[in-house]
Symmetry: C2
Subunit: 161 residues, 2 copies
């Protein structure tokens, strides 16, 4: 048995044993864009509370999220497999395995990743959990505010979806 | 030119462009154990403040750190290359590429990684930066307390090194 396949016990974790979530909390109109996204919440399974770490897989055509930014929380991504297009105000950049990106809290530069390749792409995403976060989506009529640890989505005028 | 080698601009980052640190803040008696360790502070270069992300390389024989735990800060590691031995109260486990581990704040289970292989091993480490952290080293007469963002090392009775 290779070392990669052995049974690990906490505090170690084989991500293959972690259930994947494909659902999205987005309003209905935006769910299709992330339908090819799967997330495994490694940090939660490991008992971490101060930040989240997800192992994310994007099928060809899938988005990581709508282009967005956070007022209080930092974000980091590290590409493990495949090829992803990062879109920000800077333009488009293609990230392959071993490449990283980071999005400091409060910088209103909307960002997301799109898998425009023909193969699955995989990356790690990290985000902290400082309370009182909120953010916005520059390309669509959507904003979010954190409430009890969950993102509540509204139109940009604050009216509910 | 492969996508991996292209020039990236912030908020994207090619880790190959980030300077590596091999120094250690440990008291002199413990520095040799981590002499084969190199860290690239990806999160800092990306402008992140709420957590740190380091790309760490351990030469054969090198330790990630002395076995330690944190009172306030969570830690996460994800192995990218090579083979590392994780040592905790649970015992020893070998982690290969794609394996993870996490160390929740306040759990007094000292942990570290040792590269007992003949090849370089590489991993990502993430740790938050909640203020007021402190911790201890179960195997040696060492403790730390955070002061102005830096770890101050003492003997376990609180006397300075």
């Amino acid at each position: 048995m290779s070392v990669e396949k052995q049974a690990l016990v906490l505090p170690a974790l084989n991500p293959e044993t972690v259930a994947a979530r494909t659902s999205s909390a987005y309003p209905e109109a935006f769910k299709a864009l992330v339908a090819g996204r799967s997330k495994q919440a490694l940090g939660d399974v490991l008992g971490l509370k101060n930040f989240g770490v997800n192992l994310v897989k994007l099928a060809p055509g899938a988005y990581s999220s709508l282009r967005h930014w956070h007022r209080r929380q930092d974000e980091f991504v590290y590409v493990l497999e495949g090829e992803l297009t990062l879109i920000t105000d800077t333009g488009e950049q293609i990230l392959g395995p071993g490449m990283a990106a980071g999005f400091p809290a409060g910088k209103p530069d909307g960002h997301h990743l799109i898998n425009r390749s023909q193969a699955i792409a995989m990356y790690l995403e990290v985000g902290d959990r400082l309370p009182g976060d909120s953010g916005s989506y520059p390309d669509v009529d959507l904003a979010f505010e954190q409430s009890s640890g969950k993102a509540v989505f509204t139109h940009k005028d604050g009216s509910p979806y």
